[in-house]
Symmetry: C2
Subunit: 299 residues, 2 copies
Protein backbone atom coordinates (compact mmCIF):
# COMPACT_ATOMS: atom_id res chain seq x y z
CA UNK A 1 0.00 0.00 0.00
CA UNK A 2 0.94 3.67 -0.17
CA UNK A 3 0.75 5.87 2.94
CA UNK A 4 0.57 9.63 2.37
CA UNK A 5 1.35 12.26 5.01
CA UNK A 6 0.07 15.43 3.35
CA UNK A 7 0.35 18.48 5.58
CA UNK A 8 0.07 22.20 4.96
CA UNK A 9 3.69 22.69 3.92
CA UNK A 10 4.98 19.23 2.99
CA UNK A 11 3.99 16.02 1.25
CA UNK A 12 5.52 12.65 2.11
CA UNK A 13 4.65 9.39 0.44
CA UNK A 14 5.70 5.97 1.71
CA UNK A 15 5.54 2.63 -0.09
CA UNK A 16 4.90 -0.14 2.45
CA UNK A 17 5.18 -3.90 2.23
CA UNK A 18 2.45 -6.27 3.42
CA UNK A 19 3.84 -6.09 6.97
CA UNK A 20 3.79 -2.28 7.07
CA UNK A 21 7.55 -1.81 6.65
CA UNK A 22 8.68 1.23 4.67
CA UNK A 23 10.22 0.16 1.33
CA UNK A 24 10.60 3.61 -0.20
CA UNK A 25 9.99 7.19 0.85
CA UNK A 26 9.64 10.38 -1.23
CA UNK A 27 9.37 13.93 0.06
CA UNK A 28 8.15 17.10 -1.58
CA UNK A 29 7.44 20.71 -0.60
CA UNK A 30 4.05 20.48 -2.35
CA UNK A 31 2.04 20.77 0.86
CA UNK A 32 -1.69 21.45 0.68
CA UNK A 33 -1.16 25.22 0.83
CA UNK A 34 1.33 25.08 -2.06
CA UNK A 35 -0.80 22.92 -4.41
CA UNK A 36 -2.16 25.16 -7.12
CA UNK A 37 -2.46 22.61 -9.91
CA UNK A 38 -4.86 20.17 -8.24
CA UNK A 39 -4.23 17.45 -5.67
CA UNK A 40 -4.88 14.56 -8.02
CA UNK A 41 -2.15 15.55 -10.45
CA UNK A 42 0.36 16.20 -7.67
CA UNK A 43 -0.35 12.82 -6.10
CA UNK A 44 -0.12 10.99 -9.42
CA UNK A 45 3.30 12.47 -10.11
CA UNK A 46 4.49 11.80 -6.59
CA UNK A 47 3.69 8.07 -6.70
CA UNK A 48 4.83 7.54 -10.33
CA UNK A 49 6.01 3.96 -10.78
CA UNK A 50 4.31 2.65 -7.64
CA UNK A 51 1.42 0.38 -8.67
CA UNK A 52 -0.01 -0.44 -5.22
CA UNK A 53 -3.80 -0.44 -5.09
CA UNK A 54 -4.48 1.16 -1.71
CA UNK A 55 -3.55 4.80 -1.11
CA UNK A 56 -4.35 6.17 2.35
CA UNK A 57 -3.78 9.85 3.13
CA UNK A 58 -3.63 11.76 6.42
CA UNK A 59 -3.17 15.43 7.31
CA UNK A 60 -4.45 18.76 6.06
CA UNK A 61 -5.45 17.03 2.80
CA UNK A 62 -8.66 16.13 4.71
CA UNK A 63 -9.36 19.72 5.80
CA UNK A 64 -11.52 22.44 4.29
CA UNK A 65 -8.46 23.64 2.34
CA UNK A 66 -7.73 20.06 1.21
CA UNK A 67 -9.08 17.57 -1.32
CA UNK A 68 -12.24 16.64 0.57
CA UNK A 69 -13.24 17.83 4.04
CA UNK A 70 -13.40 14.74 6.24
CA UNK A 71 -15.44 15.24 9.46
CA UNK A 72 -13.54 15.15 12.74
CA UNK A 73 -13.89 12.08 14.98
CA UNK A 74 -14.60 12.90 18.64
CA UNK A 75 -12.26 11.99 21.50
CA UNK A 76 -11.95 9.65 23.29
CA UNK A 77 -11.22 7.75 20.07
CA UNK A 78 -9.89 4.23 19.50
CA UNK A 79 -8.09 3.03 16.36
CA UNK A 80 -11.38 1.50 15.35
CA UNK A 81 -13.27 4.82 15.79
CA UNK A 82 -10.73 6.62 13.64
CA UNK A 83 -10.74 3.88 10.96
CA UNK A 84 -14.55 4.08 10.87
CA UNK A 85 -14.27 7.81 10.12
CA UNK A 86 -12.08 7.24 7.03
CA UNK A 87 -13.63 8.47 3.80
CA UNK A 88 -13.11 6.95 0.35
CA UNK A 89 -12.72 9.41 -2.52
CA UNK A 90 -12.78 9.06 -6.32
CA UNK A 91 -10.08 10.31 -8.66
CA UNK A 92 -10.77 9.95 -12.41
CA UNK A 93 -7.12 9.56 -13.40
CA UNK A 94 -6.41 7.10 -10.58
CA UNK A 95 -9.50 4.94 -11.11
CA UNK A 96 -7.51 1.72 -10.67
CA UNK A 97 -6.73 2.67 -7.05
CA UNK A 98 -8.59 2.83 -3.76
CA UNK A 99 -8.09 6.32 -2.28
CA UNK A 100 -8.89 7.01 1.37
CA UNK A 101 -8.49 9.98 3.70
CA UNK A 102 -8.06 9.59 7.46
CA UNK A 103 -10.14 11.92 9.71
CA UNK A 104 -8.72 14.41 12.18
CA UNK A 105 -9.77 14.48 15.84
CA UNK A 106 -11.92 16.85 17.89
CA UNK A 107 -11.70 17.15 21.66
CA UNK A 108 -14.09 19.10 23.86
CA UNK A 109 -12.80 19.84 27.35
CA UNK A 110 -14.98 20.03 30.45
CA UNK A 111 -15.13 23.80 30.04
CA UNK A 112 -16.58 23.09 26.58
CA UNK A 113 -13.65 24.60 24.71
CA UNK A 114 -12.78 22.64 21.62
CA UNK A 115 -9.45 21.62 20.14
CA UNK A 116 -8.65 19.93 16.83
CA UNK A 117 -5.81 18.06 15.16
CA UNK A 118 -5.24 16.65 11.68
CA UNK A 119 -2.28 14.51 10.67
CA UNK A 120 -0.98 13.83 14.19
CA UNK A 121 -3.61 11.05 14.56
CA UNK A 122 -1.51 9.02 12.11
CA UNK A 123 1.59 9.24 14.28
CA UNK A 124 -0.46 8.49 17.40
CA UNK A 125 -1.99 5.40 15.78
CA UNK A 126 1.54 4.31 14.89
CA UNK A 127 2.74 4.86 18.44
CA UNK A 128 -0.10 3.32 20.48
CA UNK A 129 0.51 -0.36 19.60
CA UNK A 130 4.14 0.09 20.76
CA UNK A 131 3.69 1.61 24.21
CA UNK A 132 1.21 -0.61 26.05
CA UNK A 133 -2.15 0.23 27.59
CA UNK A 134 -1.16 2.35 30.59
CA UNK A 135 -1.86 6.08 30.59
CA UNK A 136 0.84 7.95 28.64
CA UNK A 137 1.56 11.52 27.61
CA UNK A 138 2.65 12.20 24.04
CA UNK A 139 3.99 15.50 22.74
CA UNK A 140 4.29 16.31 19.04
CA UNK A 141 6.18 19.62 18.93
CA UNK A 142 5.89 21.84 15.89
CA UNK A 143 4.23 24.90 14.40
CA UNK A 144 1.23 23.88 16.47
CA UNK A 145 2.45 21.53 19.22
CA UNK A 146 0.05 18.83 20.37
CA UNK A 147 -0.06 17.36 23.89
CA UNK A 148 -1.99 14.12 23.92
CA UNK A 149 -3.18 11.73 26.62
CA UNK A 150 -3.48 8.11 25.44
CA UNK A 151 -4.73 5.22 27.56
CA UNK A 152 -6.03 1.69 26.91
CA UNK A 153 -5.65 2.12 23.17
CA UNK A 154 -7.70 5.31 23.18
CA UNK A 155 -6.73 8.88 22.38
CA UNK A 156 -8.38 10.41 25.46
CA UNK A 157 -7.77 14.13 25.05
CA UNK A 158 -5.32 16.65 23.67
CA UNK A 159 -4.48 20.31 23.49
CA UNK A 160 -2.65 22.53 21.04
CA UNK A 161 -0.02 25.19 21.79
CA UNK A 162 0.98 27.59 19.01
CA UNK A 163 4.60 27.72 20.16
CA UNK A 164 6.30 27.12 16.81
CA UNK A 165 4.21 29.65 14.92
CA UNK A 166 4.63 32.32 17.61
CA UNK A 167 8.40 31.74 17.68
CA UNK A 168 8.55 32.09 13.92
CA UNK A 169 6.39 35.26 13.88
CA UNK A 170 8.45 36.94 16.57
CA UNK A 171 11.72 36.03 14.93
CA UNK A 172 10.74 37.10 11.42
CA UNK A 173 8.39 40.01 11.91
CA UNK A 174 8.73 41.56 15.39
CA UNK A 175 10.91 44.22 16.94
CA UNK A 176 12.56 41.36 18.87
CA UNK A 177 13.67 39.70 15.66
CA UNK A 178 15.57 42.82 14.63
CA UNK A 179 17.94 42.42 17.56
CA UNK A 180 18.75 38.80 16.74
CA UNK A 181 21.58 37.56 14.59
CA UNK A 182 21.80 34.00 13.33
CA UNK A 183 22.71 31.67 16.18
CA UNK A 184 25.94 29.72 15.88
CA UNK A 185 25.95 26.14 14.65
CA UNK A 186 24.86 24.78 18.00
CA UNK A 187 21.91 26.01 19.98
CA UNK A 188 23.08 27.97 23.01
CA UNK A 189 22.06 25.88 26.02
CA UNK A 190 22.89 28.55 28.60
CA UNK A 191 20.66 31.11 26.86
CA UNK A 192 17.93 28.48 26.39
CA UNK A 193 17.91 27.67 30.14
CA UNK A 194 18.01 31.38 30.94
CA UNK A 195 14.81 31.78 28.88
CA UNK A 196 13.25 28.81 30.69
CA UNK A 197 14.06 30.39 34.05
CA UNK A 198 12.45 33.68 33.00
CA UNK A 199 9.25 31.84 32.07
CA UNK A 200 8.91 30.64 35.67
CA UNK A 201 8.89 34.16 37.13
CA UNK A 202 5.71 36.20 37.55
CA UNK A 203 4.47 38.59 34.87
CA UNK A 204 3.05 36.36 32.12
CA UNK A 205 4.24 35.62 28.61
CA UNK A 206 3.38 39.01 27.08
CA UNK A 207 5.65 40.62 29.67
CA UNK A 208 8.40 38.00 29.47
CA UNK A 209 8.68 38.45 25.70
CA UNK A 210 9.88 42.00 26.26
CA UNK A 211 12.86 40.62 28.19
CA UNK A 212 14.30 39.51 24.84
CA UNK A 213 14.46 43.19 23.96
CA UNK A 214 15.91 44.36 27.26
CA UNK A 215 18.50 41.55 27.17
CA UNK A 216 19.51 42.80 23.73
CA UNK A 217 19.44 46.52 24.63
CA UNK A 218 21.36 46.08 27.86
CA UNK A 219 23.68 43.46 26.30
CA UNK A 220 23.06 40.87 29.02
CA UNK A 221 22.82 38.42 26.09
CA UNK A 222 24.62 38.54 22.76
CA UNK A 223 22.57 38.97 19.56
CA UNK A 224 23.44 35.38 18.54
CA UNK A 225 21.99 34.08 21.84
CA UNK A 226 18.59 35.76 21.66
CA UNK A 227 16.90 33.14 19.46
CA UNK A 228 17.86 30.35 21.90
CA UNK A 229 16.67 32.49 24.82
CA UNK A 230 13.30 33.09 23.10
CA UNK A 231 13.03 29.38 22.29
CA UNK A 232 13.61 28.40 25.95
CA UNK A 233 11.13 31.05 27.10
CA UNK A 234 8.35 29.88 24.78
CA UNK A 235 8.89 26.14 25.25
CA UNK A 236 8.87 26.57 29.04
CA UNK A 237 5.61 28.53 28.79
CA UNK A 238 4.18 25.71 26.68
CA UNK A 239 5.26 23.12 29.26
CA UNK A 240 3.96 25.16 32.20
CA UNK A 241 0.65 25.74 30.43
CA UNK A 242 0.04 22.17 29.45
CA UNK A 243 -1.93 20.33 32.12
CA UNK A 244 -0.92 17.04 30.51
CA UNK A 245 2.68 18.06 31.01
CA UNK A 246 2.10 19.18 34.59
CA UNK A 247 0.65 15.77 35.43
CA UNK A 248 3.65 13.96 33.99
CA UNK A 249 6.37 15.90 35.79
CA UNK A 250 8.77 13.31 37.11
CA UNK A 251 7.33 10.72 34.69
CA UNK A 252 7.92 10.16 30.98
CA UNK A 253 6.79 12.02 27.86
CA UNK A 254 6.84 10.42 24.42
CA UNK A 255 8.18 12.92 21.88
CA UNK A 256 7.42 12.52 18.18
CA UNK A 257 8.95 14.75 15.52
CA UNK A 258 11.98 15.95 13.62
CA UNK A 259 15.33 15.51 15.43
CA UNK A 260 16.26 19.21 15.84
CA UNK A 261 12.93 20.07 17.44
CA UNK A 262 12.92 16.97 19.65
CA UNK A 263 16.33 17.96 20.97
CA UNK A 264 15.03 21.30 22.25
CA UNK A 265 11.95 19.73 23.86
CA UNK A 266 13.99 16.91 25.39
CA UNK A 267 16.35 19.50 26.88
CA UNK A 268 13.42 21.44 28.33
CA UNK A 269 11.58 18.40 29.71
CA UNK A 270 14.70 16.97 31.35
CA UNK A 271 15.25 20.37 32.94
CA UNK A 272 11.76 19.93 34.42
CA UNK A 273 12.80 16.50 35.81
CA UNK A 274 10.80 14.65 33.21
CA UNK A 275 12.06 11.67 31.20
CA UNK A 276 11.64 11.55 27.46
CA UNK A 277 11.32 8.77 24.94
CA UNK A 278 12.04 9.87 21.36
CA UNK A 279 10.18 8.60 18.30
CA UNK A 280 10.89 9.41 14.66
CA UNK A 281 8.51 10.78 12.06
CA UNK A 282 8.19 7.39 10.30
CA UNK A 283 5.45 6.66 12.84
CA UNK A 284 3.03 8.41 10.48
CA UNK A 285 3.47 5.65 7.89
CA UNK A 286 3.06 2.98 10.57
CA UNK A 287 -0.13 4.64 11.82
CA UNK A 288 -1.69 4.90 8.37
CA UNK A 289 -0.88 1.20 7.86
CA UNK A 290 -2.57 0.23 11.13
CA UNK A 291 -5.67 2.25 10.20
CA UNK A 292 -5.85 0.78 6.68
CA UNK A 293 -5.65 -2.71 8.14
CA UNK A 294 -8.28 -1.89 10.77
CA UNK A 295 -10.58 -0.58 8.04
CA UNK A 296 -10.16 -3.89 6.20
CA UNK A 297 -8.49 -2.50 3.07
CA UNK A 298 -6.41 -5.68 3.03
CA UNK A 299 -6.31 -8.86 5.04
CA UNK B 1 8.87 76.52 24.50
CA UNK B 2 8.46 73.63 22.08
CA UNK B 3 7.75 70.11 23.38
CA UNK B 4 8.51 67.23 21.02
CA UNK B 5 7.12 63.69 21.40
CA UNK B 6 9.25 61.76 18.88
CA UNK B 7 8.50 58.04 18.91
CA UNK B 8 9.36 55.22 16.54
CA UNK B 9 6.45 55.74 14.19
CA UNK B 10 5.23 59.28 14.84
CA UNK B 11 6.41 62.81 15.55
CA UNK B 12 4.33 65.35 17.45
CA UNK B 13 5.40 68.90 18.20
CA UNK B 14 3.61 71.23 20.62
CA UNK B 15 4.06 74.96 21.06
CA UNK B 16 3.46 75.87 24.69
CA UNK B 17 2.88 79.19 26.42
CA UNK B 18 4.74 80.25 29.58
CA UNK B 19 2.19 78.37 31.70
CA UNK B 20 2.59 75.12 29.78
CA UNK B 21 -0.68 75.37 27.87
CA UNK B 22 -0.71 73.98 24.32
CA UNK B 23 -1.05 76.80 21.78
CA UNK B 24 -0.48 74.76 18.63
CA UNK B 25 0.08 71.12 17.76
CA UNK B 26 1.48 69.49 14.61
CA UNK B 27 1.63 65.78 13.80
CA UNK B 28 3.70 63.83 11.31
CA UNK B 29 4.37 60.21 10.42
CA UNK B 30 8.12 60.94 10.41
CA UNK B 31 8.89 58.79 13.43
CA UNK B 32 12.47 57.91 14.29
CA UNK B 33 12.32 54.72 12.22
CA UNK B 34 11.04 56.64 9.17
CA UNK B 35 13.62 59.47 9.27
CA UNK B 36 16.10 58.88 6.49
CA UNK B 37 17.12 62.49 5.81
CA UNK B 38 18.46 63.39 9.25
CA UNK B 39 16.69 64.37 12.44
CA UNK B 40 17.83 68.00 12.39
CA UNK B 41 16.28 68.74 9.01
CA UNK B 42 13.03 67.00 9.90
CA UNK B 43 12.75 68.92 13.16
CA UNK B 44 13.55 72.26 11.48
CA UNK B 45 10.78 71.75 8.94
CA UNK B 46 8.33 70.57 11.57
CA UNK B 47 8.75 73.69 13.75
CA UNK B 48 8.91 76.15 10.85
CA UNK B 49 7.60 79.55 11.96
CA UNK B 50 7.93 78.81 15.68
CA UNK B 51 10.74 80.94 17.12
CA UNK B 52 10.75 79.65 20.72
CA UNK B 53 14.22 79.16 22.19
CA UNK B 54 13.77 75.95 24.17
CA UNK B 55 13.09 72.67 22.39
CA UNK B 56 12.73 69.60 24.60
CA UNK B 57 12.30 66.17 23.05
CA UNK B 58 11.18 62.83 24.51
CA UNK B 59 10.80 59.32 23.09
CA UNK B 60 12.79 57.04 20.83
CA UNK B 61 14.71 60.10 19.61
CA UNK B 62 16.91 59.51 22.70
CA UNK B 63 17.54 55.82 21.89
CA UNK B 64 20.38 54.10 20.07
CA UNK B 65 18.39 54.47 16.83
CA UNK B 66 17.73 58.14 17.61
CA UNK B 67 19.62 61.45 17.46
CA UNK B 68 21.77 60.90 20.52
CA UNK B 69 21.58 57.94 22.92
CA UNK B 70 20.60 59.36 26.31
CA UNK B 71 21.40 57.02 29.24
CA UNK B 72 18.45 55.57 31.14
CA UNK B 73 17.65 56.94 34.61
CA UNK B 74 17.08 54.25 37.25
CA UNK B 75 13.79 53.75 39.11
CA UNK B 76 12.60 54.81 41.58
CA UNK B 77 12.88 58.19 39.86
CA UNK B 78 11.49 61.61 40.80
CA UNK B 79 10.81 64.47 38.39
CA UNK B 80 14.07 65.93 39.59
CA UNK B 81 16.02 62.70 38.85
CA UNK B 82 14.62 62.60 35.34
CA UNK B 83 15.30 66.30 34.72
CA UNK B 84 18.89 65.78 35.92
CA UNK B 85 19.30 63.06 33.26
CA UNK B 86 18.31 65.40 30.40
CA UNK B 87 21.05 65.90 27.82
CA UNK B 88 21.66 69.06 25.79
CA UNK B 89 22.58 68.56 22.15
CA UNK B 90 23.98 70.84 19.42
CA UNK B 91 22.44 71.33 16.01
CA UNK B 92 24.41 73.55 13.56
CA UNK B 93 21.34 74.80 11.69
CA UNK B 94 19.42 75.45 14.92
CA UNK B 95 22.23 77.22 16.76
CA UNK B 96 19.88 79.92 18.09
CA UNK B 97 17.95 77.29 20.08
CA UNK B 98 18.50 75.20 23.18
CA UNK B 99 17.88 71.53 22.31
CA UNK B 100 17.39 68.93 25.02
CA UNK B 101 16.48 65.25 25.10
CA UNK B 102 14.68 63.62 28.05
CA UNK B 103 16.04 60.25 29.30
CA UNK B 104 14.09 57.00 29.38
CA UNK B 105 13.76 54.90 32.54
CA UNK B 106 15.27 51.61 33.63
CA UNK B 107 13.74 49.39 36.31
CA UNK B 108 15.38 46.33 37.83
CA UNK B 109 13.02 44.02 39.67
CA UNK B 110 13.95 42.01 42.76
CA UNK B 111 14.63 39.01 40.52
CA UNK B 112 17.13 41.29 38.72
CA UNK B 113 15.23 41.28 35.45
CA UNK B 114 15.33 44.66 33.77
CA UNK B 115 12.67 46.65 31.97
CA UNK B 116 12.93 49.89 30.02
CA UNK B 117 10.71 52.66 28.70
CA UNK B 118 11.28 55.76 26.56
CA UNK B 119 8.66 58.40 25.85
CA UNK B 120 6.14 57.25 28.46
CA UNK B 121 8.14 59.12 31.14
CA UNK B 122 6.87 62.35 29.57
CA UNK B 123 3.23 61.36 30.02
CA UNK B 124 3.94 60.11 33.54
CA UNK B 125 5.60 63.41 34.48
CA UNK B 126 2.55 65.19 33.10
CA UNK B 127 0.22 63.00 35.13
CA UNK B 128 1.95 62.92 38.53
CA UNK B 129 1.31 66.53 39.56
CA UNK B 130 -2.40 65.95 38.94
CA UNK B 131 -3.07 62.79 40.95
CA UNK B 132 -1.69 63.42 44.41
CA UNK B 133 0.97 61.56 46.36
CA UNK B 134 -0.79 58.28 47.22
CA UNK B 135 0.24 55.08 45.51
CA UNK B 136 -1.36 54.81 42.05
CA UNK B 137 -1.29 52.41 39.13
CA UNK B 138 -0.94 53.84 35.63
CA UNK B 139 -1.37 51.87 32.40
CA UNK B 140 -0.24 53.17 29.01
CA UNK B 141 -1.60 50.63 26.50
CA UNK B 142 -0.02 50.29 23.08
CA UNK B 143 2.37 48.31 20.93
CA UNK B 144 4.32 47.80 24.13
CA UNK B 145 1.95 48.45 27.06
CA UNK B 146 3.48 49.89 30.23
CA UNK B 147 2.17 49.26 33.75
CA UNK B 148 3.60 51.77 36.17
CA UNK B 149 3.49 52.24 39.93
CA UNK B 150 3.82 55.88 41.03
CA UNK B 151 3.90 57.08 44.64
CA UNK B 152 4.98 60.24 46.47
CA UNK B 153 6.00 61.90 43.21
CA UNK B 154 8.25 58.99 42.28
CA UNK B 155 8.00 56.51 39.43
CA UNK B 156 8.58 53.43 41.58
CA UNK B 157 8.56 50.56 39.11
CA UNK B 158 7.06 49.41 35.84
CA UNK B 159 6.72 46.50 33.48
CA UNK B 160 6.13 46.11 29.77
CA UNK B 161 3.70 43.75 28.00
CA UNK B 162 4.02 43.28 24.25
CA UNK B 163 0.27 42.96 23.78
CA UNK B 164 -0.18 45.39 20.88
CA UNK B 165 2.71 44.03 18.85
CA UNK B 166 1.64 40.40 19.39
CA UNK B 167 -1.95 41.25 18.38
CA UNK B 168 -0.70 42.93 15.24
CA UNK B 169 1.66 40.06 14.32
CA UNK B 170 -1.05 37.45 14.79
CA UNK B 171 -3.58 39.41 12.83
CA UNK B 172 -1.30 40.25 9.91
CA UNK B 173 1.00 37.26 9.60
CA UNK B 174 -0.40 34.17 11.36
CA UNK B 175 -2.68 31.33 10.38
CA UNK B 176 -5.21 32.91 12.79
CA UNK B 177 -5.28 36.12 10.78
CA UNK B 178 -6.34 34.21 7.67
CA UNK B 179 -9.64 33.28 9.29
CA UNK B 180 -10.48 36.86 10.27
CA UNK B 181 -12.44 39.34 8.25
CA UNK B 182 -12.57 43.04 9.06
CA UNK B 183 -14.67 43.65 12.16
CA UNK B 184 -17.75 45.80 11.80
CA UNK B 185 -17.68 49.46 12.72
CA UNK B 186 -18.03 48.76 16.40
CA UNK B 187 -15.91 46.34 18.34
CA UNK B 188 -17.88 43.23 19.22
CA UNK B 189 -18.23 43.29 23.02
CA UNK B 190 -19.63 39.77 23.32
CA UNK B 191 -16.68 38.28 21.43
CA UNK B 192 -14.25 40.47 23.43
CA UNK B 193 -15.67 39.19 26.75
CA UNK B 194 -15.66 35.64 25.41
CA UNK B 195 -11.91 36.04 24.74
CA UNK B 196 -11.41 37.45 28.25
CA UNK B 197 -13.19 34.44 29.74
CA UNK B 198 -10.99 32.03 27.78
CA UNK B 199 -7.88 33.72 29.17
CA UNK B 200 -8.98 32.81 32.68
CA UNK B 201 -9.12 29.08 31.99
CA UNK B 202 -6.10 26.79 32.39
CA UNK B 203 -3.75 26.06 29.51
CA UNK B 204 -1.68 29.21 29.07
CA UNK B 205 -1.59 31.82 26.31
CA UNK B 206 0.13 29.65 23.67
CA UNK B 207 -2.74 27.18 24.01
CA UNK B 208 -5.50 29.79 24.25
CA UNK B 209 -4.37 31.42 21.00
CA UNK B 210 -5.30 28.26 19.13
CA UNK B 211 -8.91 28.72 20.28
CA UNK B 212 -9.15 31.57 17.75
CA UNK B 213 -8.60 28.93 15.09
CA UNK B 214 -11.02 26.35 16.52
CA UNK B 215 -13.69 29.05 16.99
CA UNK B 216 -13.26 29.90 13.31
CA UNK B 217 -13.12 26.29 12.09
CA UNK B 218 -16.11 25.17 14.14
CA UNK B 219 -17.98 28.43 13.46
CA UNK B 220 -18.65 29.15 17.15
CA UNK B 221 -17.64 32.72 16.24
CA UNK B 222 -18.11 34.57 12.97
CA UNK B 223 -15.01 35.66 10.99
CA UNK B 224 -15.82 39.31 11.77
CA UNK B 225 -15.80 38.54 15.54
CA UNK B 226 -12.42 36.85 15.72
CA UNK B 227 -10.32 40.03 15.99
CA UNK B 228 -12.39 41.22 19.00
CA UNK B 229 -12.09 37.76 20.56
CA UNK B 230 -8.29 37.79 20.13
CA UNK B 231 -8.14 41.33 21.54
CA UNK B 232 -10.09 40.29 24.66
CA UNK B 233 -7.92 37.19 25.06
CA UNK B 234 -4.65 39.12 24.87
CA UNK B 235 -5.69 42.08 27.01
CA UNK B 236 -7.00 39.73 29.72
CA UNK B 237 -3.68 37.87 29.66
CA UNK B 238 -1.89 41.19 30.02
CA UNK B 239 -4.09 42.14 32.99
CA UNK B 240 -3.73 38.74 34.66
CA UNK B 241 0.04 38.81 34.17
CA UNK B 242 0.60 42.30 35.50
CA UNK B 243 1.25 42.25 39.22
CA UNK B 244 0.54 45.97 39.34
CA UNK B 245 -2.87 45.25 37.90
CA UNK B 246 -3.50 42.36 40.28
CA UNK B 247 -2.82 44.64 43.22
CA UNK B 248 -5.25 47.24 42.01
CA UNK B 249 -8.22 44.94 41.40
CA UNK B 250 -11.19 46.70 42.91
CA UNK B 251 -9.26 50.00 42.94
CA UNK B 252 -8.54 52.48 40.16
CA UNK B 253 -6.18 52.42 37.17
CA UNK B 254 -5.15 55.58 35.33
CA UNK B 255 -5.23 54.95 31.59
CA UNK B 256 -3.23 57.15 29.21
CA UNK B 257 -3.46 56.83 25.43
CA UNK B 258 -5.46 57.15 22.25
CA UNK B 259 -9.27 56.92 22.68
CA UNK B 260 -9.89 53.67 20.73
CA UNK B 261 -7.29 51.76 22.70
CA UNK B 262 -8.40 53.20 26.03
CA UNK B 263 -11.93 52.04 25.32
CA UNK B 264 -10.83 48.40 25.02
CA UNK B 265 -8.72 48.57 28.19
CA UNK B 266 -11.47 50.36 30.12
CA UNK B 267 -13.91 47.64 29.07
CA UNK B 268 -11.51 44.92 30.22
CA UNK B 269 -10.61 46.59 33.54
CA UNK B 270 -14.24 47.26 34.44
CA UNK B 271 -14.96 43.61 33.69
CA UNK B 272 -12.30 42.85 36.31
CA UNK B 273 -14.12 45.13 38.80
CA UNK B 274 -11.52 47.85 38.48
CA UNK B 275 -12.29 51.53 38.04
CA UNK B 276 -10.58 53.57 35.38
CA UNK B 277 -9.67 57.20 35.00
CA UNK B 278 -8.94 58.22 31.40
CA UNK B 279 -6.24 60.70 30.37
CA UNK B 280 -5.51 62.01 26.88
CA UNK B 281 -2.22 61.98 25.02
CA UNK B 282 -1.64 65.71 25.57
CA UNK B 283 -0.09 64.71 28.89
CA UNK B 284 3.19 64.22 27.01
CA UNK B 285 3.41 67.97 26.33
CA UNK B 286 2.56 68.74 29.95
CA UNK B 287 5.25 66.34 31.17
CA UNK B 288 7.94 67.78 28.95
CA UNK B 289 7.01 71.25 30.22
CA UNK B 290 7.29 70.16 33.84
CA UNK B 291 10.71 68.62 33.17
CA UNK B 292 11.98 71.70 31.31
CA UNK B 293 10.93 73.88 34.22
CA UNK B 294 12.50 71.52 36.74
CA UNK B 295 15.75 71.62 34.76
CA UNK B 296 15.65 75.42 34.95
CA UNK B 297 15.38 76.09 31.20
CA UNK B 298 13.14 79.02 32.09
CA UNK B 299 12.00 80.65 35.28
Amino acid sequence: MIAVDWGGSSLRVYRLDAGGNVLEERRSALGVLACTEGFEQVLRQQIAGWDDTSIVMAGMIGSRQGWVEVPYVNCPATLSDIAAGMVEIRAPTLSDRQLWIVPGLLHRSESNSADVLRGEEAQLCGLMPRIGAARQIVCLPGTHSKWVVVEQGRIESFLTAMTGEVFDLLRRHSLLGRLMTEPGEDADHAAFFHGMARAQQPGGLLHHLFSVRTAGLLATLQPAQLASYLSGLLIAHELLGSEACAQVRGGTVHLIGAPALLEAYALALRRFDTNVQLHGELLAAAGVYVLARQRGLFA
